[in-house]
């Protein structure tokens, strides 16, 4: 594929603008957060053209943004952020992606590495048994056709009410684990049928569950507020989304949006950007269905949290209180949200599309949980399984220039097929084991696809967002045990 040869205007060491006059039809300039060393790989991937295409969306304000983990997606790049005005803008399912509310949840423990290491094999085996994962896996919960509507409407609240997890978990989940405006009637019977058997499953692909150890603290004060007290402390990370239900909602609405594009006479440079005015019936229906899928994902992560806690209780024979297995936070990184932001000095209600990007609200902001009011919203940035993950907090600067958004992870560098050709799953498992990381997976092929070599270095990605000031690093943790779907 040809390298992208368009213009990057350097704003500072971490900001590169694509001018609005690059292509006729752009309604906003593009802006990519990256350092000079990343630019070549970004050009090779052609993702900047997708940043340009997103700038065509009616009602877009500010910049068509991309985070340093940018790579080629469908319509929108992964790592893309775009805000459109509710009044005269559009919503695009491609700006959310197939895995609606793919996201990350982080829990702390009272344990240190020294206490967990001798039992890591037992723990990973137990987690593998207790949390359904992998392709073709079915959940342990049986949801009736009637009850699915409750899950879609109430999200993680439904799960907590049914004994999965603690009410406090909801306080430290984005949107309280329940996005408003969900209407199960807007979700097709097909989507529900795909979702019902997969409720409470980790899934496959890049989804995982990790036992991690804190390696570094960059902002000890904020870490302490989150319950991360010291280097060597053990954490638990859950990365999954809305499974087949979300994929089907996306697919269904992409088709509906194709019709809407013609109906409303919207001019787009790429079919996968199909969209509809936010206030149109098609736009409203998509947002109502998307909220359902988002809630399904939150219920999913809530159930998995519960089973993971049970695994710890069994393996260590301690009470939940003694384990201190408390939730730090839960973020969505594939979602569209109606939010208020300042645009050219005026408060505007916008639809913020975050596709492979994380909300990063600052201290003192109303949507940040009470317990984090002084430090800002926790931002969870998982790396790939061989490397590390980061915890950060949102900043005022993010609020001012990136619609309160930052990066979401490492970002792929190599195609899955290429990774699989060059690596074998067994070798990947062996190499990780030599680094002290125990991996359990249902699929060795899938393991090779997700090997470190296939990803950009998350440390580099997080450093750019930190230096650019759109999120602030708090802590870094590395895995000692991984369950890979």
């Amino acid at each position: 594929m040809a390298r992208w040869e368009g213009p990057f205007t350097k704003i500072d060491d971490y900001r590169w603008e694509i001018p609005k006059n690059y292509k006729p039809g752009m309604r906003a300039p593009g802006l990519i957060y990256a350092d000079e060393n990343m630019l070549e790989a970004i050009r090779e991937d052609r993702a900047p053209e997708q940043v340009v295409n997103v700038a065509f969306l009616p009602g877009i304000v500010g910049h068509s943004l991309a985070m340093p983990d940018i790579h080629l997606g469908y319509g929108f790049p992964i790592g893309g952020v775009a805000a459109t005005t509710v009044k005269d803008g559009v919503v695009s399912p491609g700006g959310v992606g197939y895995d609606i509310n793919c996201g990350v949840r982080l829990l702390r423990t009272n344990f240190t590495e020294k206490e967990v290491k001798p039992k890591i094999k037992e723990l990973i085996n137990e987690l593998f048994n207790d949390v359904p994962s992998g392709l073709g896996s079915e959940g342990k919960i049986r949801i009736s056709d009637k009850e699915i509507a409750e899950v879609l409407t109430r999200g993680a609240r439904w799960a907590v009410e049914h004994g999965f997890g603690l009410p406090r978990d909801l306080e430290v989940t984005e949107e309280g684990g329940c996005l408003k405006g969900a209407d199960p009637d807007k979700v097709s019977a097909r989507a529900k049928k795909r979702g019902i058997p997969q409720s409470g499953t980790l899934g496959s692909g890049n989804h995982f569950l990790e036992v991690q150890v804190v390696k570094e603290l960059y902002h000890p004060k904020a870490a302490k507020v989150m319950g991360i007290d010291k280097v060597g402390q053990v954490l638990l990370l859950i990365h999954t989304g809305s499974r087949g239900l979300g994929h089907q909602v996306c697919d269904d609405y992409l088709r509906i949006m194709e019709g809407a594009v013609r109906k409303y006479g919207i001019n787009l440079p790429d079919r996968e950007l199909a969209c509809a005015p936010i206030t149109s019936p098609e736009g409203k229906d998509y947002l109502a269905a998307m909220a359902c899928a988002a809630n399904y994902a939150w219920a999913n992560r809530q159930c998995i949290t519960h089973w993971a806690r049970e695994s710890f209780i069994k393996v260590f024979d301690r009470s939940l209180n003694e384990l201190g297995l408390e939730q730090i936070y839960d973020v969505a990184h594939n979602i569209a949200k109606i939010e208020e932001h300042m645009v050219n000095g005026r408060k505007v209600t916008v639809c913020v599309h975050r596709k492979g990007a994380t909300r990063a609200f600052p201290a003192g902001y109303k949507d940040v949980p009470q317990c984090y009011q002084e430090i800002g919203q926790p931002v969870l940035i998982p790396g790939d399984m061989g490397r590390c993950s980061f915890v950060a907090v949102g900043t005022d600067r993010a609020m001012k220039e990136s619609f309160g958004s930052t990066c979401h992870g490492a970002g792929r560098m190599q195609s899955r097929a290429a990774a699989k050709r060059s690596l074998r799953g067994v070798d990947v498992a062996r190499e990780l084991a030599s680094k002290g990381i125990l991996v359990k997976t249902g699929s060795m092929a899938s393991l090779a696809e997700e090997a470190s070599e296939a990803y950009k270095d998350v440390t580099h990605v997080v450093e750019v967002t930190h230096q650019a000031g759109i999120s602030r690093k708090v802590a870094m943790a590395a895995p000692i045990g991984v369950i890979k779907g």
Binding site: Y74, Y98, R416, S443, S446
Partner: protein, 144 residues
């Protein structure tokens, strides 16, 4: 003569985050069938699959490209909901906007089958249907 030579069935192509399939056929039906074969080859080694059941699929779409995406997504849906892997596809009718097919395969049996990659959806990204000297070449990228 050239159009009588059996063309390649399918091959995988690279895309940063995902994988695609390019499928070939002496006619459009064969290209659609080979694309479906490519899809299931991503999920499983088809040599381990037998044909002991079938499903009929009937679809309509706006145009032939949408029909290709719809066809593959229908198969992904059947895999997700019924856990059926198909390995043989008889496409009985394929027009610009309609498709009728009978698909043969079996239900996943985790004691015998080793599943490889999960596929979320067939996408419109870099979607192509091309005709060259009567031979067809179709390209689809999957979100996996």
């Amino acid at each position: 003569m050239s159009d009588m030579v059996p063309v390649k069935t399918f091959e995988f192509i690279n895309h940063t985050a995902d994988t695609g399939v390019v499928a070939y056929g002496n006619d459009i039906k064969q290209a659609f069938a080979n694309a479906a074969m490519g899809l299931f080859s991503l999920i499983i080694d088809l040599n381990t699959v037998v044909e002991n059941l079938h499903r009929d699929i009937k679809l309509s779409a706006e145009d032939q490209e949408s029909l290709l995406v719809g066809w593959l997504n229908e198969l992904i849906y059947t895999f997700d909901v019924e856990h059926i892997i198909f390995k043989k596809f008889e496409i009985n009718r394929l027009t610009r906007d309609q498709l009728q097919a009978r698909c043969f395969g079996e239900r996943v049996d985790l004691s015998r089958h080793k599943l490889k990659t999960g596929v979320k959806a067939a996408t419109y990204h870099m979607l192509k249907i091309e005709r060259d000297n009567g031979n067809y070449r179709v390209q689809v990228i999957f979100d996996i």
